[in-house]
Point group: C2
Chain length 189, copies 2
Amino acid sequence: MTDSHHQDEWRESLEGAKDIIIDSLAETMDLYGVTRSVGTLYGTMYVEGDMTLDEMREKLGMSKPSMSTGVRKLQEFNVVKKTHRRGKRKQTYVAEKDFFRFFTNFFTQQWEREVRTNLSAIESAWEQLDMLIQSEEAEESIKEEAREIQRILSQSIKYYKWLSRLVESMETGELFKYIPIEEDDEKER
Amino acid sequence: MTDSHHQDEWRESLEGAKDIIIDSLAETMDLYGVTRSVGTLYGTMYVEGDMTLDEMREKLGMSKPSMSTGVRKLQEFNVVKKTHRRGKRKQTYVAEKDFFRFFTNFFTQQWEREVRTNLSAIESAWEQLDMLIQSEEAEESIKEEAREIQRILSQSIKYYKWLSRLVESMETGELFKYIPIEEDDEKER
DNA sequence: CAATTTGTTAAATATTTTCTTCACAGTTTC
DNA sequence: GAAACTGTGAAGAAAATATTTAACAAATTG
């Protein structure tokens, strides 16, 4: 690292640091099924603060419809919200910067959906299996397999109930009593 | 539903019930970035019990290399393990049927990776920002932005530490003390 | 109310990902 | 040790996704 940076080079270095953060957030979100470019968009908003679609487009060098759909996905995950700059016409969007809230919002949304989807599937499968089990005609071997599946399903119902309670404890903040957020022991500023 | 089913039709009905479960599991896993066909594979193993690659291939009507890579993915997520049927030559694989363990294994693995990736990124970004802040030459406005980013990052470090503790509490089972698994209040059988 | 601007939809294009076929290396069996 | 079989890697084909361009509808300004 030389001693004779121009300001542009310092600026470049700052942007480089941002990019390290952005890329790593995008990679992480990729793990959770958020596409990489949507992750990059989130990361950008995370380090840049609130932005308009045009600012995003310029920053990421992508088209505006891409930004529009990207932002919508992030809103669906509950990690980006609309805001507005007073006096301004353009809509602005702001990313959730508090990762505790990110975590809560994101997984709450996913887990609730998981519970709904799967409980409803279990319900209809269960009925169908009942019909089979109660029929006079069906072979015993088939009935036995149906009962076996019901046994497995009844186990999984417990899980979905538990998952609901986990979600609830995140929403109420109860979870953070059990697993506390460690306070900052740095000198504050 | 008619009264005159053949056994084949009852069998069909049983398979239908399975498929409802399989599809719903696959859809759920899709939410978490597990591809749909890998989710279907998991679901199949979930309802069918342990299987060989050839059994999977036959059941899903896909090629063997697909099964091979699918199973490997599921192993990476820690939700499928190798087993063997005694006396048999073919390798068999078994899906984790206990969703509590599925949950723990899957998210533990993801979250640990998230922590590692992002903490390491924060570390290098932080150094780069420090260099900038401590330089004599860089403009104050740039330095100020660098400090602002460090403030944000120091908040997020708290989050990653918390996430590590959450993972730990899942691994030790501590979490299930706080948010207990409700016991089965159905009449057992 | 005409002219601009903003955000979104639709169609096309490009890119990425998934899947299959083929080949082969490592094991097991006789 | 030859023959058969199992699992996986590589290359290409097929399918799914993401991205862009173009067009438009709604809102805003002068």
